[in-house]
Subunit: 404 residues, 4 copies
């Protein structure tokens, strides 16, 4: 009896969980793997899972999918839209949504494992399937590594992974070299002095300090980075105050920074820190801002030879036009830690989840940004098919390419 | 057996409650009033209380105290500091503190009632004591009026109230005419378009929209109001986003506006609205901002004749230097609704709660703003004595002045 | 033959001169004074003039008028509008206009001298008439004092002066105590690093540094000054760059600051300097900004007794309603140096130059700001009459009040 | 007798002229061409020159050099530094400097013509040498075309040109396809309402309007353009006001915009216009801003085949490492109009003018931006040699490659 992948996908979509809280998701995955006759270890890196298919002599191929959802309030209007709520690390009740397609990643990997199990006479080697938690915190792969995943399982000859993205369905995007940006997540706390909303002069207003800082941070990208280089400085959250008539004592900013490499990281971080500190001085703050790095992700660098080999395999399987070079993505991933720490080559590719006609119309109309919701948008929703089938096939083709 | 007012005060201080949630506070008040042999009605205007002392023919004097605390995390280090938590109207868990001295107001009114009950042979008339909830929402007095307090109790010949403030202990501040500013509390929701933190171009960033709005709102006071007029535009809270790598779909600002009268209100409100709407246009927002008035407070206007009479009485009781004209305060109050709706005159005064030597040192050192915490500061803490005794005496002197 | 004051006024209006360049103006004044039979000394404080009327024993009354125009391009459309050009201290060709009414001041003083000369049998004492240059630079009175005017002419028993302003014609505004604000004029040079407009990352952009500084300076008044205090921080000029595709090496700001007294001056200056320096740091400037004080004016403080006496005289002459308390003006003057340095009392008053009906309509319509051009506006234009006649009468009444 | 190219260069450097004012420069060029025995036409496109070398049957090769300086105050400290002053189109006296190396371009072309004249036995065809004015206004090539240069001279088979740049001396940078960005120069006039610096409420402050606009314009690049795309929004000049105590009536901004193609141009222009208009609304401006396009430059697109051929020739002449792909430059050029209008292919390359050791040290130290002045910087100064010799050789090699 084959897995009903579409039902699995809509079930996962309707029940997203935040990073390191993917316990229901893990249970669903474990049950399906058991149905395939596979042994599965749960709780690897807190909420991750690993399963292994040993099929004679041959290369060791790691297939990785991430599992976690995001604190986003789903607005897709889908029949299987999420209404879930979770609790974020700060203890706040937040909505949760699979706004980055990790439900699709999990389902495609389970579908691929089913096919690979059914065709063991056609290939040889070892498959290690890794269901990784907490990609969105940039912490899950390191948690699994800290938990010994690289020692306790066969060492990879290659690490493979994929991500669904707003390309037209049917299209694979992959490039040799830097495929995704390096990134850092920072928390900045600006310290002012609280007081009565009617007496600003007796306070040091952290709301104005934060606003001035946000405006000034725009100049890092607009003025201080070579226009030909890639850099992003996003203030993803800003929080201060509880009531209109109380000037609060502090403000908190959460920043996401992106760049292609470590040299750029150092330059941009230096500029951000310079601006944050100077804007506190401009406010007359009595205490320096607190700047904390919450996570730090390396660039995702595809092995040049393995990428060429896989692109060739994809073209053979899906046609000449099926593979494009999408350029470096400004998004970031922690998948590369598995490759970096083990010394194995990595190939990480994107596959399209947008109805091709809709995509073509948006391109023609110049309305891509408005009409094609991106990952992390409350409207993000890959078309179920052919996205799901292609997600399965991509993994099968890729695994088979590197297996014997 | 007399009331232990100091214990009452520290108990109330340690157990603050948010607006319209003052149920423990109401219970404490009711118990003390019952101990004084007074009948008390609870639940007036949700969590308010009223008691009446009828003592023969004579004027009807209303004495009003407010009861609620604020969502502020106490940092006074006092032995009786609050560690309370509450739930704000949006459902968030927040710290709570008596950061505006309403605990002092309640205690002083109970102390004054005790003295007035003990001296009924010295005066004639009727005292109506009003323990009002939710002053901080600008909603409590109107809730009591909607609940019929003006019809169900003797109509006031005068309404009296007082507020503890960072004047030196021993000093009363009161002036005829406008004593406190008119004020509005606004909530502004700025609508952007959410998306991935690494792809700002696919979003309409509400964090930047909010920051630009906050910076532009500064120009209302700095450029558009006559420098000789009083106006305040405070953004007391700013909230957007849940995670560094998700650009949220909207941002919320809470504003507190202050002005001396309704003409200024109209002008300033118009400017604020113009700026908010234009900044959304500058961001290319696809939806207009939502601007809601949460509360609207009239100016607190002291009756000229009654204020002169009371100032004279205060000087007689406490010495010539005991009364100063503190100018108009930019803070606001909803006490005046009792007077406006009943047609009675109002006198509302401030009394000092700061150690006089500390105050003098701060004046001499030019460090008032740094060293003397104001109302709504996490460090706000009137010195217990003589502040409490004087709060009691003020009310007794004032009530006796207007009673027969 | 009497002076044709209207022709004199329109001639002066059509030929304004910048500060310390009032040579044509001085010539016109000298000729008229000579026609009145008065001896006049020219070149006092570079381009100023002084004349004296000695008429027996009695008090010495100084009457002062200022003479200079402003770098404003007149847009009044008047038949006698200025088309003059001048050269400012930086060597730039600029338009010039009597946008502050000093032409009216000069004409009124000449008219008053004519009347006083014609009525010497009615009064006794000494009149010193001072035509002061360069009030707009805040430098003229000090230049005259440095030139010995206080030693070389009879020491004043009182110093009197007046200013035309957008009050209704017929109204005098005067108050005891602080009549006009203290003020400082600052020049701020922000040092960046120049380069090609297409390569911002190789520069330190002084245009953005200047813009951020201007926005942040708004918070001095909006957040850091007690809303009940008077303060103004105006950036009256901003200059950087010569071409769209060259990022310049520096930017220049000229600031005008206003406050009621020296304590406020120190506080505001400190805040301005803090912000300017911090914004340079935020830009990563390699050189500290240069901050220069161009002029520094004391508050204009009217003597309490003399003001009461003069207000009484004005009411007697022009009717009870003719004198109002206009509050402290945020404008500034250097007239008070004559009084400060000589120890004499000062009275400085405003008189109205707006058609009363037009003023009343603007008040009723709430369009004062739009419809009634203020001093320094390119549309500033007192109605010729009754403004001029009243300017003459004011001085005659005032001088006679203090003469024997 | 050969031309003393070094003396020619330092003479041109010391005597820069603004766009369309290059009359002395034209005279120097004309004299040198005459010395070479060439006929020269002056006044083509106002101040441009053209000369032709006809040398038998063969291709027609156009060699172009631009001639104009910039309003920059030279700070190189060179013995031959410019102290020249000019008058810009607005009538202002400004400093003038060869801050973009056009003096080097002119000298190198004269040197190359000398060599080509001396070697006519080695090549066949026709050379058209174009000395173009007003490149910095983006107007010179169109002026020459309007003046009939394409009709009156042999039609080009190829158009060649070069630009000195901060690459190491000895290095040529060239790439097929888009070599330089498209660009627009805009003038924005923001209309406020002028008035007295002490009465901001009676004005609509254009300085604040301009500052807010500059800050908001940063978000075009930081938030609204794909981080992987190239775009620049520079405000190269900002001007408002003449005096600290007059709030002016308007502010003027000059913008330089850069992008790779016309689609991006349309998007960025739309965003800039949206922000400018919205910020005027935020200020309550009574009149819409005036936005004028001063010039509009197409991208400089190198012909793919001709670039390959020329790169090969350069490598053959100067060694394998001598040619690099410098990426698209964000600077812009009007040279391509000659190719676009005639239908000929274009190759435009950069050559290095920085001492190689100094360049290497700056790269190693991460101080490129600080230590290597770029074009348009007041410190821009190519090392005289080998820059000049290589400029000559580049042109000779390139011309000979495309001649018979």
């Amino acid at each position: 009896m084959s897995v009903d992948l579409e039902s699995l996908y809509t079930d996962l979509h309707a029940h997203p969980e935040l990073s390191f809280q993917e316990t229901r998701t893990a249970g669903v995955i474990a049950r399906h793997l058991a149905d395939l006759g596979l042994e599965v270890e749960e709780g690897v890196g807190r909420t991750g899972l690993v399963t292994t298919i040993r099929n004679g002599e041959g290369p060791v191929v790691w297939l990785r999918a991430d599992m976690d959802g995001l604190p986003v309030e789903e607005q897709t209007g889908l029949a299987y839209a999420s209404t879930a709520r979770g609790t974020d690390p700060a203890g706040n009740a937040v909505p949760v949504m699979h706004a980055c397609g990790h439900d699709m990643h999990v389902t495609a990997l389970i579908g691929a494992l089913e096919r690979l199990v059914a065709t063991t006479d056609e290939w040889a080697g070892t498959i290690v399937a890794v269901f990784q938690p907490a990609e969105e915190y940039g912490a899950g792969s390191q948690a699994m590594i800290a938990d010994g995943v690289l020692e306790r399982y066969p060492t990879p000859d290659i690490v493979l992974g994929q991500h669904v993205t707003p390309l037209p369905a049917g299209v694979i995007g992959v490039r040799p070299g830097t495929q995704m940006a390096a990134s850092d997540g920072l928390t900045v706390v600006l310290h002012g002095r609280g007081g009565h909303g009617s007496r600003p002069h007796s306070t040091i207003d952290p709301v104005v300090m934060a606003a001035a800082t946000v405006m000034r941070l725009q100049t890092v990208v607009s003025r201080e980075v070579d226009p030909r280089d890639v850099a992003v400085v996003t203030v993803g959250s800003i929080h201060a105050g509880l009531k209109n008539n109380i000037i609060p004592a502090e403000a908190k900013l959460e920043l996401s920074l992106r760049y292609p490499d470590d040299a750029a990281r150092e330059r941009v971080m230096g500029k951000v820190e310079r601006i944050v500190r100077a804007e506190a001085l401009a406010s007359g703050a009595e205490k320096e801002p607190t700047i904390t790095t919450d996570h730090s992700l390396p660039p995702t660098i595809n092995d040049v030879d393995a990428t060429a080999r896989l692109s060739h395999a994809f073209r053979r399987a899906f046609g000449e036009g099926a593979v494009v070079d999408p350029g470096m993505f400004t998004g970031s991933e922690d998948v590369s830690w598995f490759a970096r720490e083990s010394g194995a080559p990595l190939v990480f590719w994107f596959w399209g989840g947008v109805d091709p006609q809709k995509f073509a119309d948006a391109v023609a109309g110049g309305t891509i940004e408005r009409d094609i919701p991106t990952n992390h948008s409350p409207f993000f929703a890959p078309v179920l098919q052919p996205t799901l089938d292609r997600g399965v096939e991509n993994l099968v083709v890729a695994a088979r390419e590197f297996l014997a």
